[in-house]
Amino acid sequence: MLRISGGKIYDPANGIDGAIKDLCIDDHGKFVETVSGGRTIDAAGMIVFPGGVDVHTHVAGGAINFARAMTPEDHRRTHAFIRTKSRRSGLGGMAPTTFATGYLYAGMGWTTVNEAAVPVLSARHTHEELSDIPIVDKSTLTLMGNNEILLDQLEDGEYERARNVVAWYVWAAKSYGIKAVNPGGVAAWKWGHDAKQLNSPIAGYNRLTPGGIIGNLARICDDLGLPHPLHLHCNNLGAPGNIATTLDTLQHLDGRRAHIAHSQYHAYGGDGWDTMSSASKQLADYFNSHPNLTTDAGAVLFGDTVTITADGPWQHLLYKLTGRKWGNLDVENETGCGIVPYTYRPSNLVNAVQWATGLELLLLIRDPFQVFLSTDHPNGGCFWRYPEIIKLLMCADFRKECLAKLPDAIKKKITLPEIDREYTLYEIAAAMSAGPARALGLKNKGSLAVGCDADLVIYEADDNVEKMFGHPRYVIKGGEIVIEDGDIRETPHGREYIAKPSYDPATEEFMRPLFEDRYTMSFENYPVEIERLEHPSIQTCKPAN
């Protein structure tokens, strides 16, 4: 039992904007009206937020583990956690180890993370890594946009079959929702090609286009009633002028709900590297007039990082552009991944445009329940640097100082210098917690209301915003004080949220011969056993009709 007394509460899910009130937590880790007994934290003068929710990150599984293999030079120089009685050892940096990932997220006040890209074939691996990430609660998204068995059904116009196949896969992976990355492009990459035209048939298909995959998957998500809408990494990521593809994609969604991943990478004007510019205004206008869409910023921060994505063809291009190490892993039938360590430099005009574009999207999309704080960790920057982004959002003067350090030629390419908006604490709480929780459909997260999970973070008010958000005074997860005065006190295991959509039982027999033809493991061994998940929590699916 716990009482937080006298803190200034920021709870956008319930419209509370700095009111001073007490919070009470029971022994089951939920907010309640009152408690008697237990500890009281005197939070007078402090600021209280719901725990952070990272809607799009890459922290567990084959792809991030591949990146760990590729960056020993970063492991060697980065933050190290020493083994103590309550804490396992680990390394931070670009591709943190599992225990360190939990400590670093919790250390910033983040209590829920969504692993955004999981191939079903290695889902077992992802769940094992998630079990080794302490404290935070988790969910995962299954990669479906390049699943050839699915694509074949869509090519043949078999919508019902396709819907059943997707539902079967989501449950086989024991995951929470559906992710599509460069639909059609990653399948084409199996032959060394890509899919850059939304309305052209994909390599190897006569009719099926990326637009067709997107429209069908968005409809399938709604028909299955998954708590989170289709989570989409659009075609043509990173390419100058890709704003056209992004807007075209949004129009393909035809009014359906969707979440657009790391939109910064999809908001460029121009027609080449020299003319590349920010097209954030066009994209922001679309979001501002379409409230059923959400996005995470995928903001860029200057410095070293490692890019990890299922977008294999893009990573081959990045390797050719930079000459850096290139990792690639195509996954039979399903997807792929590409990994390239990368450095964003302020002196590089393209990187400078990217840096500005991410911030512009966060500032121009008005509703913080529509645009969320993310760097597509580790692609745009490491998650433990989120406090730097918060500072950039809250302090226009600081933004102007940073802008002054960029090359002069940037001025014609971006609109950031004209933007004076400063995020309030309420808006930060929405963009980092309440908004992503709502988009994910996690009703007990991102909110300090009675009945919700007692995941919260208490900051000491400080004019130095980066310091304030980087060093919370207390972090509470499920009613337990996990961080106090910078120390890790407790390391409870988090839950894993999974969805159980319905499918026709005949789907199994339908899948079996297709599976045996495409895959190289036995059908019985493929679905992940529920026993492998640490504290699974099954979320209900409410089909749209």
């Binding site: 190290a80 050892s89 390394l91 032959w191 892993l329």
Partner: protein
Amino acid sequence: MGGKVTCTLGEVKQRADFIVYWGGNPAECHPRHFTKYTIMQKSKFLPRGRKDRTMVLVDIRETKSAKAADIFLQVRPGKDFELITILRAMIKGQAVGDAQIAVAGLTREALEDLVQRMKAAKFGCMFFGMGLSMTRGKHMNSAALLTLAAEMNAFTKFVAMPMRGHGNVTGADVIMRWQTGYPFGITFNRGYPRYNPGEFSTVDVLVRGDCDAAFIIGADPGGTMPQPAIDHLKRIPTIVLDPHVTHTSKLARIHITTAPQGIAAPGTAYRMDEIPMPLKPALKSPYPSDEEVVRRINEAIDKKPFWLPEGSQPQMLTAQV
């Protein structure tokens, strides 16, 4: 240099019309490889199976695998790195001298033919074994072959992957990486993971006599390591967990017989392409699993005083020395 361009074995089965085995002998060391994953498989894109595929074997001598090969290239021992470098030059149309080709032990015609076939392939896959990774040049040979595969992507789809050893060596690599960042050669002697093959690899630690106890699970260093390492294992308390009584068991202080993994004990193994496979035991064993034994040992250790003084709470290091 650095990185790896690869795929899961199902992609090889589906698409690979050009397969190279370099420094490996799958017929004897990975006996189901041809039939399950590579040359014998039929697929949607390669409906005639073996007839739609070309297999090239590169080795210093003709092994049993040569019978299955369409082309056998006998490279001079210790000259794999030179051969790979020549190929990397030839694929880009760079001139290579006769003397350089002679060093590798092959003819210009054979190499020109190979390069032409590689570029004409729809999907090329190179598997490499210890004949490459453990001979003169070691990891530089592996890096060179991986670089060749990466560079071939300028012309056509190409991948490469190592033929991993027996047992669950891939699983150990995968788990060590997610928990520590490093695949092997790790020390925790400062309380956090540090990596230096050659300093912290098992053979080096044993030969130097740096450890004062040894805990060996499912491996047999007493049968394979140099004498100074074996002598050290005899000197210190050595504990062995294994289904068999091994060479190491015979010089150990304690041997605990455990149930064989995958046969009588459940778990997960990671295949050479890092895909996790559940192990479902078919038999029962009177012996405990390795997991049960390790858990019980951990519980006993937890009752002993911790390695740090009571109440000390070292902060995170922001930069390693």
